[in-house]
Symmetry: C2
Subunit: 276 residues, 2 copies
Amino acid sequence: MQIGIIGLGLMGGSFALALKERYEEVEIIGYDHNDQHCIEALELGLVDKITDDLEDFENLDLILLAIPVDAILNIIPHLNSISNKTTIIDFGSTKSLIVDSIPKSIRENFVPAHPMTGTEKSGPSSAISNLYRGKVVVLCNIQDSGEIQRRLAKKIFSDLGMKIFYMDAIEHDRHAAFISHMPHALSYALANSVMKQENPKAILALAGGGFKDMSRIAKSSPNMWEDIFRQNKNNLLEAIFSFKEELEQCEEMIKAGDWKALHKWMEKANSLHEIL
Amino acid sequence: MQIGIIGLGLMGGSFALALKERYEEVEIIGYDHNDQHCIEALELGLVDKITDDLEDFENLDLILLAIPVDAILNIIPHLNSISNKTTIIDFGSTKSLIVDSIPKSIRENFVPAHPMTGTEKSGPSSAISNLYRGKVVVLCNIQDSGEIQRRLAKKIFSDLGMKIFYMDAIEHDRHAAFISHMPHALSYALANSVMKQENPKAILALAGGGFKDMSRIAKSSPNMWEDIFRQNKNNLLEAIFSFKEELEQCEEMIKAGDWKALHKWMEKANSLHEIL
């Protein structure tokens, strides 16, 4: 199987490692606008070769787009002369704008996907072979993907041990705002609320597991998350609004000393873990 | 060494395990208002015996108070006839009200402490022997503790591999609001903001590591956290206010489409991890 990976960071690099671990015969060609990442990806054995010419991708079995969501929008027009047998999977964290931007001529090539996994790290050296194992991947609007493409994508994701969910891109973006995008906004805001205090070092010296968990994703790449926030603006604002309502309710109960109501509100939050 | 532990949950139970692992000759007497917890603690070998009479604690070397902060306030008056050689350590997550409530007659017995560790679990079965290893413990106002008591507390915490910080109770409560109490409010609010959506199950099915980390402490005990929020009300409200300012700034930048400023704001949040 000949595979092209565009974007050799955490997601693309980990996908390369997982494919190489799972399949005996894969050849992976890498593409990244960052030269240093290309060198590292070769050195780390994530890819077998590097190209800076997208024409080299035209007859591959699979192309993975593992780049920020705005970069996905920008690269799509350059894939227009791809073979009709090639499968293109994009790993964008937002889906509606991407799905809408795919030209009809290559729509069957595309399987829009969002793997619900990651770490706060980035770059080829952060790649790990088990990033995808046991994790959820959401496939969007695959009724518009070709038969070959659907089959290949499903086979690869199952082979890597992923749980496949199917969803409309619009629904995906609404859910992703709550489960991923808004929590990132909270983590960034939490980090900044501590950093602006008089002596953040004295406060951070006391950090236990709770704070470390809550602030971990505040380390995430602004390049990636600026794009996601832009592309999922309305859903994100709605999710932030919904969160603020809850936080303000908490605040009001504390101000009023309504501890009984606060206790119930905390119990309701506990119940999330019966589902999760 | 004879040790009494009041409160046989995660903190008290883990402390018992750690002491038994570290020292050859310790006898631990347990006390808990929950009979089931007493039975479990005995069965799990956390304690050597159980008592329901605080008089049994009067001549011990060490008494640990590992109960919710309001329960600490309630039990302090019952410790008034303790030997002047006994060391009392409380593990309350708030410190000012507790320090202020200790009668002068037993003030030297007390070493007010806050170990910055825990999990979202509770009860004797959640106890783990390495909960304290490598973690920070804050000792407050120990200039008012007796010489014997200071020495014993420091020795035990170092023996368990903890990093000791010294702090005024007022300063502690301000810092703890930012590093622990407010993040708990956020996690509860995040959980409730998802639970109130039309189909929380469909959203939660997509949960990746980020959401799991952010919502983990929303599983924490309302019994414990209602007390903490009450005792640290003003600092907590201030920390929530500071957080909301940041989140609202984020919201405004998204609404205005000021992506350049948003990018910078995210980068500032990244810088927390240079300290943490």
